[in-house]
C-alpha cells in the first residue's frame, strides 16, 4: 500500500495544473478495482439537453482502450468527439486515464482508490489534469461508489482555479443481467471563480454484464439523469459499453 501511495503522489507532484472542466454528458463513475492483465475496450456516450436549446443538445462519444498493468494499476487511452448545440461534431479530446486501487476490495471498511487523468482539449488548445479519490462500500448486495474529482488546466493560458466535481452511484447486485441503481453527477464550483455555478443531476440507472465466450465479458450501464437546478442540463442520457478480454 505504501508503494502504491508513493507512486500516486509522485505522479501528482509532477503535474501542476490550472483551468476548469465542464461536466460532460459522457461522464461515468470510476471504480477502485483493477484486474491485472485484463484488456478493456470501452465506449462512453452521452446526450444532454439544455434549457432553451430545442432539440439541439450536446452529444459526446469517448472511445477508450485500457490494460490492467499490475494488480493495482490500470491505464487507459481515450479519444473523444463532441457535438455542441449549433455546431458540427469535432474531435474534442485525447485522454490518459489511470486507476490506482489502493486497497484490496473488502479488506477495510471502505475500498479506496485514486483516479488520475491527463487530458488534451482540442477546442481549448490546452491540457488539464483531473485527480481525486474513489470510494467503494458494499452493504450486502448493495454497492455504492463515490468519486471526488479535482480538475485544473495546465499552462499559462489555462483558467485559474481548481474545479471540484463529483460522481456517485448506488446499485443493487442481484442479477448480473439487470442491476438497477441510481447515478448522480455534479460540480461544486471552482476555487478561481467565486461565482461559478453549482450543477447537480441524478436519475435512475441500470447495469448489466454477461460472459461472451472464452474469458470475455461484456458490460453495459446507462442512466437517465435530470438536472436539479438551473445550471444543469434538463436531461442527460449517458451510457458505457465495455468489452473485457483476458
Amino acid at each position: 500500500m505504501r508503494t502504491k501511495c508513493l507512486s500516486v503522489f509522485a505522479a501528482v507532484s509532477l503535474l501542476h495544473v490550472s483551468a476548469a472542466l465542464a461536466a460532460d454528458p459522457a461522464d461515468h463513475v470510476y471504480l477502485p478495482s483493477v484486474v491485472q492483465g485484463e484488456i478493456e475496450f470501452e465506449l462512453n456516450g452521452g446526450y444532454q439537453q439544455w434549457p432553451n436549446n430545442g432539440d439541439n443538445g450536446e452529444r459526446q462519444l469517448i472511445y477508450e482502450a485500457g490494460y490492467g498493468v499490475t494488480s493495482w494499476w490500470k491505464s487507459e487511452l481515450g479519444i473523444g468527439s463532441t457535438r455542441l448545440p449549433g455546431e458540427s461534431t469535432h474531435l474534442d479530446e485525447l485522454e490518459w486515464e489511470n486507476i490506482f486501487a489502493l486497497t484490496e476490495p473488502g479488506e477495510y471498511w471502505l475500498d479506496l482508490g485514486v483516479f488520475a487523468e491527463l487530458e488534451h482539449d482540442y477546442g481549448e488548445h490546452g491540457n488539464a489534469l483531473t485527480i481525486g479519490p474513489m470510494f467503494q462500500k458494499e452493504f450486502g448486495v448493495v454497492q455504492t461508489n463515490v468519486n471526488v474529482l479535482f480538475s485544473r488546466g495546465l499552462g499559462e493560458l489555462a483558467a485559474q482555479g481548481t474545479e471540484l466535481d463529483y460522481n456517485w452511484q448506488v446499485k443493487w447486485r442481484g442479477n448480473p443481467l439487470f442491476e438497477p441503481g441510481i447515478q448522480g453527477f455534479g460540480t461544486l464550483g471552482s476555487t478561481g471563480d467565486a461565482g461559478h455555478p453549482f450543477a447537480h443531476k441524478l436519475g435512475p440507472a441500470f447495469f448489466s454484464q454477461t460472459l461472451v465466450g472464452g474469458r470475455n465479458k461484456l458490460k453495459f450501464d446507462t442512466a437517465l439523469l435530470f438536472g436539479l437546478n438551473r445550471n444543469s442540463p434538463n436531461t442527460t442520457l449517458r451510457f458505457t459499453l465495455e468489452f473485457e478480454i483476458y
Binding site: S33, V35, Q36, G37, S71, E104, P105, G106, E107, Y108, W109, L110, E138, G140, Q143, R173, P176, Q209, R215, Y246
Partner: protein, 112 residues
C-alpha cells in the same frame, strides 16, 4: 493433506487497525488450486463475519478467481498465493469459478 481441508480460524477484531472496525469478527479460509480445480470445492464459513480467503495456486499456469455473487475477480499467478476479502455474508451459497478453466474449476462458499 495439508491443503485439502478447510482451515477456518476465527480471529477477534483489531486485526487491521487504522480505520477498520476494531470489533469486527473475521474468519480465515484457505483454498487450493490444483490440476485446474479448487480444493476443496465447498468451503463453509461463518455468516455475518468478514472472510479472509487465501487462495494458493499450485498449478504451473495462472488462474482467475471470480464470483459474481461475492463481487470479486482476481488473478492468481502460477505457483503463488493471493488473498481475497469477502463479507460479512448473509447465510447462503456463493458460487465461484476459475475464469481460465471454467469446465473444471468450480466451487461454492457456504455461509452459515
Amino acid at each position: 493433506m495439508r491443503f485439502n481441508g478447510l482451515v477456518v480460524v476465527l480471529l477477534t477484531g483489531g486485526l487491521f487497525g487504522g480505520a477498520t472496525t476494531a470489533s469486527a469478527q473475521e474468519a480465515e479460509a484457505q483454498l487450493v488450486i490444483r490440476d485446474h480445480q479448487f480444493v476443496p470445492t465447498e468451503i463453509t464459513v461463518p455468516a455475518h463475519a468478514k472472510i479472509k480467503l487465501v487462495i494458493d495456486n499450485q498449478d504451473a499456469t495462472a488462474e482467475e478467481f471470480e464470483s459474481y455473487e461475492l463481487n470479486r475477480e482476481k488473478v492468481v499467478a502460477a505457483k503463488s498465493k493471493i488473498t481475497v476479502y469477502v463479507g460479512p455474508l448473509e447465510p447462503g451459497r456463493y458460487p465461484f469459478f476459475g475464469d481460465f478453466h471454467k469446465d473444471s474449476a468450480n466451487g461454492v462458499l457456504i455461509a452459515k
